[in-house]
């Protein structure tokens, strides 16, 4: 967990602050952010003070000031571009969503055999040209949305193209390596986990009733 959690928290602060700002707010207190992220106010203050994000002992934190600092910390590197490999239903779902507000853009989709030339104004290319495309456009991050049967070899290919970060949706655990960080989104595990938690709390309820 450690560092990863902290960074995720910073990103969440950022999102919440943007939301607050869009609501017309100027300043926040540590407890507002704590509530929004479901963490303690002390932790918010600790995080901020750790990164020298300063507030005012009476008036809390200036949203703009905090956002400035967060952008700096998280790499205010403009609009980043990613690719999606696999343009089946899942790939299409991802291609149809606009991620600009999240700070990145899907530059292109790749598929062994694209069913159309573009989708949502994003070009779809055959897999063969992945490497030249990634090199030319300096793509660092990509999403795997292919069937599980070809996921491993897709990851291999992407790493071979020089991609350094992969979000994998295929239901198998791919391991990160020195040269490429891989995060797995495992829907099956998530659902299993939900069932477990739900059953837990049912048992607890039963106990407290009985």
């Amino acid at each position: 967990m450690e560092q990863k959690d902290l960074m995720l928290r910073l990103m969440k602060y950022k999102r919440v602050l943007l939301q607050f700002k869009s609501l017309g707010l100027d300043r926040v207190y540590s407890n507002n952010l704590g509530d929004a992220l479901e963490i303690s106010a002390a932790l918010v203050r600790k995080d901020f003070s750790h990164f020298k994000i300063e507030g005012n002992r009476r008036g809390g934190y200036s949203i703009n000031r905090v956002l400035e600092k967060l952008n700096h910390l998280l790499g205010d590197s403009g609009l980043q571009e990613i690719v999606i490999v696999g343009c089946g239903n899942l790939g299409k779902a991802l291609l149809n969503h606009d991620y600009i507000r999240e700070g990145f853009r899907i530059a292109a989709g790749f598929d062994i055999n694209p069913s159309q030339a573009e989708l949502n104004n994003i070009p779809l290319y055959p897999l063969e040209i992945l490497k030249p495309y990634v090199l030319e456009h300096h793509i660092d991050v990509g999403i795997i949305a292919v069937p599980v049967s070809s996921a491993m070899q897709t990851a291999e290919m992407m790493i071979n193209c020089g991609i350094k970060g992969i979000l994998n949706f295929a239901p198998l655990q791919l391991k990160s390596r020195e040269e490429c960080r891989i995060h797995n989104v495992n829907i099956g595990l998530e659902i299993e986990n939900l069932f477990f938690m739900v059953n837990q709390s049912e048992k607890k309820d039963a106990r407290s009733i009985g």
Copy 2:
């Protein structure tokens, strides 16, 4: 983290053990499992001993024995059923996948206006009949795969139907409540996080070269 992480680890043990078993293995050592999960062997032993899963001081753990215990711990409750609300591209992608091996099954899909009567042998129904369906089939868990604009009200509706666990794919953070546990899959955050990590390690590389 805490409990949630431990349970996720138990689920991962299970998956890895099933894989080992399918490869013909009979026994594992704590360090095999540690390697597979990228955790320490000590933690594996600690976890197992915590749940009274016993091994043999020379021959490691019997895979079947461990699986038996894990199934018991994780709730060996047969095949559970879930519903999907939202049958656009994302919903279709989920409907097209077979989760039987993961211990659950998608019983039905729901949409304001289903484009077809079934998909992958799974019936698709209009949203109006969600409540009677959930009640009749005792559905505990569901997936939100609707656009962000209707996600909040969809969650409300599902909770109102008595659903106790939700996996939310819409890009907004829904909060868990007493009566319903909600897990959010936030693709934007994941990608942002990847960019951050990738940039981090690039900086590190540059430093070690310079």
